[in-house]
């Protein structure tokens, strides 16, 4: 079945969508698509069939999001923890992923028409090589599209993602691109797999579980969390509307909390810069206390240097990540 569903909403759905769109809408929604296995059990199907239904529901949900002007969606497709499941199930899921990514590549034109950019986030080197190559093709093939974005978390856990970001920053320090004192919250965010996306506004988990299960722990610190008891393959347009309504009810307070956090973070950065600039002045000074003017200049200079360092580092990181996909793609082509 296809990744892209065509088709308009029916009249009632359209009216409800328009009513909701009169209020603040989330720009980025994250889904934990839980409940495929329970659904399969409930309907006396094979687990694999449950996962297939789950994928179909994903395609339908993307269609609804498009009609609701939700331009970015992140989904939790496969956790690193899921590798612990039975070999049969893991192999089945890998096979399903292979089929889906191959199908994606067949639908290139359709994806281009709708401007869908696919990104895959996770520790991809844990996957079989052929799947990695398929993923690389899909990601590179849709890289230039910018109407809507689908981020698929595959072989992903949040702790691995955060650790990887720390490792990248340490790599930057090793290469002499940045200093340890440059490490900050925005820099860590910029080193995550999800660095090209804004933080999710809304996180929805289905099937009644009320855990985050190591999904986007850093990015959802100030997101609206909605836990719904419906099983993922049974998810409906009305469930989505209910979640969006929940978001709208929380919007003002969450915005306020985000703003507070941003201010606090900016203050901390300023203080850190001040401390570093003062240290720098002292070590290069002539022992006399510096004037206020001198201190201000030193601070501005230090901040500018730090920002330049960080820019260079982030560019180097981007090149490293791009070459990972390019190498996979060219290996796939030549194979």
């Amino acid at each position: 079945m296809s990744w892209i569903r065509e088709g308009e909403l029916n009249l009632l759905e359209r009216i409800s969508a328009n009513i909701l769109k009169a209020g603040p809408m989330p720009k980025h929604v994250a889904f934990i698509m839980d409940g495929n296995r329970r659904f399969a059990q409930k309907k006396n199907m094979e687990r694999q069939e449950g996962h297939m239904q789950g994928f179909n529901k994903l395609a339908e949900t993307l269609r609804w999001c498009k009609h609701l002007n939700i331009r970015e969606v992140t989904v939790y497709a496969f956790s690193i923890e899921n590798f612990k499941r039975s070999k049969d199930e893991v192999d089945g899921l890998m096979e399903l992923a292979r089929q889906k990514f191959e199908k994606l590549l067949e639908e290139r034109e359709n994806l281009e028409k709708h401007g869908v950019c696919i990104r895959v986030l996770g520790d991809l080197n844990m996957l079989p090589l052929d799947l990695q190559q398929l993923i690389a093709k899909a990601v590179l093939g849709t890289k230039a599209h910018n109407k809507c974005f689908l981020n698929v978390c595959f072989a992903y856990t949040s702790r691995y993602e955060i650790t990887n970001a720390v490792r990248e920053m340490a790599w930057g320090v090793e290469q002499g691109l940045i200093k340890a004192s440059d490490v900050s919250e925005p820099l860590l965010s910029a080193c995550l797999y999800s660095n090209k996306s804004p933080n999710p506004d809304l996180l929805i988990r289905t099937s009644g579980e009320v855990r985050l299960s190591d999904f986007l722990l850093w990015q959802t610190s100030h997101s609206c969390l909605v836990f719904q008891s419906v099983l993922w393959p049974e998810y409906s347009f009305w469930n989505l509307c209910e979640a969006i309504l929940q978001y709208q009810l929380n919007h003002a307070s969450i915005q306020k909390a985000r703003e507070l956090h941003r201010e606090h973070q900016a203050l901390q950065q300023l203080e850190a810069d001040r401390a570093c600039a003062a240290e720098h002045l002292q070590s290069h000074g002539n022992g006399k206390p510096a004037s206020g003017q001198r201190r201000r200049e030193a601070l501005l200079q230090y901040t500018a240097c730090r920002e330049e360092r960080i820019q260079d580092f982030l560019e180097a990181l981007k090149r490293k990540r791009d070459s990972f996909f390019n190498d996979l793609w060219s290996a796939g082509v030549s194979a």
């Binding site: 769109k21 923890e81 320090v173 900050s184 919250e185 610190s221």
Partner: protein, 288 residues
Amino acid sequence: MALLYGLLWRLLLLLVHINRALVVWLRVRLRGWKRRVWERAMAGLLLPVALAGFPDHQKTTNQNPDANTSPGTVKRLACRRSRLLSDGRSLEKLPVHIGLLVTEEEPSYTDIANLVVWCMAVGISYVSVYDNHGMFRKNNSRLLEEIVRQQQDLLGGDGSKCNVEFLSNGADKHHVISCRPTVKVLSPEDGKQSIVQAARQLCRSVENKEKGSKDISVSMLDVLLRESRNVPDPELVVKFGPVDSTLGFLPWHIRLTEFIYCRDLLTETLGFSLSAWLSPGGYWTKVE
């Protein structure tokens, strides 16, 4: 047309607020009535219970009718004391570490202290209290006083086993008295900022050539984030107040944490929600 939809949207929000107010009113009125009546009342309201803000799963044991209105402090406290002990006995399996996430703008210190003491009395080893303004941390002495006072009121002489330890980033003093149970007062600095500090520490050791970037692992970061805290991850976080978000609460530690939403800062509500979730077959007993 846009104007019409705008008006309809406002109407929808108004309906939701009315719905919620009705639910709260009904909850107070129907307290002690059979659950069937409650469910029928809920079905009568158009919007799903989830939106009304009451916990979904209501498989619970006996509800004690609220006996707190009787005059006479001694009798009231005796009632509360015995109820605390029976609450503890009726809960199947307690979390070792519970988080109380307060999203209200101006929470009452008495209510928070009440909840903390209830958790400790019921047998929970670690209780973390958090608000995203860092208010509890700033006013920790006031909170400490309230907790000690509530403890003395409720537990009398037994309360001396209390340990109130205030988490800090090393700058403040630790008020450590004895072992368990332990109360931790957290603020946003303990969340992302502590992860950043751990990252900085690791990068500094890379800068000093003490280790390579490839040596950095999940467990290494985990140890650093746990070293200064020395508590297990919270199994359960109870969120109080109107905001449906973690608001920066310990992002690293809530990997497998279950969340319960409570609308008000009452021990009755907490006890009720906790027993519903901890009953056999309740979700939190499942392993990931």
